[in-house]
């Protein structure tokens, strides 16, 4: 297989002995793994195994009781969700979490929000950021300046908006959702919603992209498309991807490294081939019927 | 607008939280106008026409009413709400519409030099407050005895309710009684805390400056805590049948201020009943209000308007009077005891006389008491402490004039 030849960078994210409890329920118990740069990393496991919870821990929505997360070399503590986004982690959700009242374009554009710091603010960062004395005055002034430009939709702000619009359009082109640009996402069928959600995450130009069952509820053709997008993102932008998926075909084909969770514990880890041959994994997750399918292959 | 009719807009509130008080007030005015038309064919041969506009005691609606109706030949309005009055005062001279607030409104507007278009005839809240103190003094056996007494004012937390505070505070400094102020928020259904404070303070007298449901609840709570009812005096807007009847027996002995007699035992009122209601020309269901306190007050309001109109007709030799003429009529309103008798209201009210500087007419105040069935007058006419009140009014009016670039008239 081709992907076995793929090479990866350093560890981007290290998960160390994470334990997460909700009251009496242990969602994750003592799980560790590393995600390397440019890897496509898959987390699989039966329902309720703690996969989604793991992603939530990674992007700061849940705070584990024990263990540490090291991202880009920094060990982090009690991080707020929006801070995770600021460090370049984007994600999609198992139950689609789009902004239902907005159009596709607007949803994708929200992904650009972090990048739209405003022209005055950028100027501030260039000129003043390391001059603490005048910070207290300039920061609010710059912020307010941007705010005024925004509200007048004028000059540099307009140019910035258009630049980001262009970036958003690129994502839209890439995902081939041009024709629903102006449709409110609440009206879209499920599969397209997933795609828009991916678009929103891509618009953030993340370093680490977390995908929670991106292909659920899609038929073969759509899954193929989706896989294509995932692989392209990985190839073209070098984005590291961590995904959860129940379709074994997809996982086996596109992932470089797989972690298997069961009842919150890690029961196996390795290349897809290693994992799918693991008896524990077959018992806990794949089931007998699938085993045949896979062997056949 | 036919040439021989005089038009009056009536701002009423027959709906909303203050409707129970608004209905008899509005009826009093309308019934009297109706009566004048039926009995005398109008004033000086000019038929009166009036149009009701529902304000619900809401300023914005009142403003809408005013703007909509002012062009129809309006010469004088009766806003029947403190809020609307305040809003209309700055417009009055521009629109040439007089504002007649009978026993309410903006007290300092009785300084006719600064407020030529506003009339607080026959008396004001400040006068009334001073009259109450006088009455209490008399009950205690002399003004000197007030020293060290405790008086509590329970008031509606609004412009209206706050009107007497300045006066009462000033008098407290002068006379040495202790004043406790207790505000009650609209609508005033819940006054537990207020009356707990009364229980703690144990004042000798309670003055009630309430409006709407607040009055009934206050009276009930007072009986509940066993406060002596005859030591509780309400403002004249807290002393109508509507305020006491729903409380059952609780209100027996409760007193309230007024500036006119109570009941329907006057030739005019009997005649109105006969001419208007017995002939089936009254407001449907309105006969039960005739002779009630608020109805009587509405009638007084209407009488002031028609008397002013009459005076203006005579002075200017016209039939239908315009805004400026009406204003003159109000400013020179002079209803003597004989005139009251002529109207069929002998002993109903003291004479009223306005002057250029004084739009208050200096009407004295009466105290009435509820005996469980009806209101009875229990005092003589008490003249307010003019020497205290008038300087207050003038000072306040002067401040208003200064702020608004008004040069006071010379009177």
């Amino acid at each position: 297989m081709k992907h076995s030849e793929r090479t990866f960078g350093d560890t981007l994210l290290r998960v160390d002995n994470i334990t997460l409890r909700f009251g009496g329920v242990k969602a994750i118990t003592d799980v560790s793994f590393d995600i390397h740069e440019r890897q496509i990393f898959a987390i699989i496991g039966p329902n309720g195994a703690g996969k989604t919870s793991m992603l939530n821990v990674i992007n700061g929505f849940y705070h584990p009781q024990e263990g540490t997360i090291t991202y880009k070399g920094n060990q982090r503590h009690q991080m707020k969700p929006h801070e995770a986004a600021e460090t370049g982690i984007a994600r999609t959700f198992q139950n689609v979490a789009l902004f239902r009242g907005m159009s596709t374009l607007d949803n994708v554009m929200t992904g650009r929000l972090l990048k739209m710091s405003g022209p005055a603010m950028r100027y501030y960062h260039r000129q003043f950021a390391d001059m603490p004395v005048i910070n207290y005055l300039t920061y609010p002034a710059m912020w307010f300046g941007d705010f005024l430009l925004d509200s007048l939709y004028w000059g540099p702000y307009q140019r910035e908006e258009l630049a980001h619009r262009k970036a958003a359009e690129e994502v839209i082109d890439f995902l081939e959702i041009q024709s629903i640009r102006r449709t409110p996402v609440g009206r879209l069928p499920y599969g397209l919603q997933k795609r828009v959600e991916l678009g929103r995450a891509l618009a953030m130009e993340p370093d680490l992209l977390l995908l929670d069952e991106p292909m659920a509820g899609m038929n073969l053709e759509e899954k193929e498309d989706m896989c294509r997008f995932v692989i392209d993102v990985n190839d073209e932008f070098g984005t590291t991807i961590a995904l959860i998926e129940h379709d074994m075909g997809v996982v086996m084909d596109i992932s470089d490294h797989v972690v298997v969770l069961n009842y919150g514990r890690k029961i196996a880890e390795g290349t897809p081939a290693e994992v799918q041959a693991d008896q524990d994994v077959i018992d806990a997750y794949l089931g007998v019927a699938h085993e045949e399918d896979l062997i056949e292959k | 607008q036919a040439a021989d009719t005089q038009y009056f807009p009536l701002f009423t509130y027959r709906t909303g939280p203050y409707a129970p008080n608004g209905i008899p007030s509005a009826n009093g005015i309308a019934d009297y106008f109706n009566y004048v038309n039926l009995k005398h064919g109008g004033v000086g041969g000019v038929k009166l026409v009036w149009e009701e506009c529902e304000t619900g005691y809401n300023t914005k609606k009142g403003v809408e009413c005013y703007e909509r109706l002012k062009g129809k030949g309006t010469t004088v309005v009766f806003p029947y709400s403190t809020g609307i009055t305040y809003k209309l005062i700055p417009n009055a001279d521009k629109d040439k519409v007089s504002i007649l607030t009978v026993g309410y409104g903006r007290t300092d507007a009785s300084d006719g030099r600064v407020f030529p278009w506003t009339f607080t005839t026959p008396t004001t809240y400040w006068s009334q407050a001073s009259a109450f103190i006088k009455y209490i003094g008399a009950q205690e056996g002399g003004m000197g005895k007030l020293k060290g007494k405790k008086i509590a004012l329970i008031y509606h937390n609004s412009a209206y309710g706050k009107e007497p505070i300045r006066t009462l505070e000033l008098l407290a400094r002068k006379l040495g009684y202790k004043l406790t102020l207790l505000a009650v928020n609209h609508p005033g259904q819940e006054q537990k805390a207020t009356w707990l404070q009364i229980r703690r303070e144990r004042p000798d007298w309670v003055l009630l400056w309430g409006w709407g449901v607040m009055n009934q609840v206050a009276i009930k709570e007072a009986t509940n805590i066993g406060f002596k009812m005859d030591r509780m005096i309400g403002v004249w807007w807290s002393g109508a049948e509507q305020d006491v009847v729903p409380t059952g027996d609780a209100a027996k002995g409760y007193k309230a201020g007024t500036f006119h007699a109570a009941g329907s035992d006057f030739p005019l009122i009997k005649d109105i009943k006969k001419v208007v209601y017995d002939a089936g020309k009254g407001i449907p269901g309105g006969d039960k209000y005739v002779g009630q306190v608020l109805w009587n007050r509405g009638m007084v309001n209407a009488i002031f308007a028609t008397e002013a109109m009459r005076a203006a007709q005579k002075k200017f030799g016209v039939k239908v009077v315009n805004g400026e003429q009406m204003r003159w009529g109000l400013e020179n309103l002079n209803i003597t005891a004989e005139r009251w008798a002529e109207l069929g209201l002998k002993g109903f009210m003291q004479p009223v006389k306005n002057t250029c500087a004084d739009h208050e007419g200096n009407g004295p105040v009466l105290i009435q008491q509820w005996d469980g069935k009806k209101w009875n007058i229990v005092s003589d006419f008490i003249s307010p402490m003019r020497e205290v009140v008038r300087p207050l009014i003038e000072k306040s009016a002067a401040a208003y004039a200064k702020k608004n670039n008004i040069t006071p008239r010379k009177c």
């Binding site: 297989m1 081709k2 992907h3 909700f22 329920v25 496991g45 039966p46 329902n47 309720g48 195994a49 996969k51 989604t52 919870s53 198992q94 139950n95 081939e176 024709s179 629903i180 009206r187 879209l188 069928p189 499920y190 599969g191 397209l192 069952e213 659920a216 509820g217 899609m218 038929n219 073969l220 053709e221 759509e222 899954k223 193929e224 498309d225 896989c227 294509r228 692989i231 392209d232 129940h246 379709d247 074994m248 075909g249 997809v250 084909d253 596109i254 997750y285 794949l286 089931g287 019927a289 699938h290 056949e296 292959k297 | -």
Partner: protein, 280 residues
Amino acid sequence: MSEAAATNGANGAAEALLSVNNIEVIYDHVILVLKGVSLEVPRGGIVALLGANGAGKTTTLKSISNLLGAERGDVTKGSILYDGIPVQSLDPNDLVRRGVIQVMEGRHCFPHLTVDENLLTGAYTRRDGGGAIRESMDMVYEYFPRLKERRSALAGYISGGEQQMCAIGRALMSNPSTMLLDEPSMGLAPQLVEEIFEIVKRLNEQEGVSILLAEQNTNMALRYADYGYILESGRVVMDGEAKDLAENEDVKEFYLGVAGENRKSFRDVKHYKRRKRWLA
């Protein structure tokens, strides 16, 4: 799968339990979604409804269970008959009482109710006493042991797959005679997908429950169904025996892929622009 049912499905109206005749559905007064869909579910049959995203599968199911009104959708043309009675004249709860139950797409559990309570609401229309209901509940928990472990958790907190089980279990609790399943396998682990279809089959064979199944997992759906309809942008573009459909070239190309030896890896799928049929 019963031979009889299959034939019934194929040849006709006589034994149709549910028949949808040429319906048109408009959302929000302006968005035309179904443009004349007709289909039939024979008594005791399993019928699969296939189609790309946005083809109108969910809409079709909702118009059958009469839940469209709640989404400001309207069936403007055509008719839907269940057991000979026009569905439009029945309340959704009447339908449930008559045994038609829908498993809604997107795991509509009641988030503030525990799993137990969720299941019990499924039995809301049942009149056969607490004992029988307990029994059904035990049966559901037997199907989904994972759910049993989380039985006292609020449904809003359980995992996506667990919610899906909860929604299916809830439908099973009502002792249905006809089930409308909207993507039941979504988000379930492979083992469980198998299990779900086994359950469906068992219900169908043992209890004679008729099934209308909207599914993306075409392989599975066609393996278990008797008859299939393929929906595309609001129209039925193809229908036939499940077996025949599975053999059809187009269906293979778009929905099934090639199984076995020649199966293409997802990694190798060429990135060529296909005709985007769901955007039609």
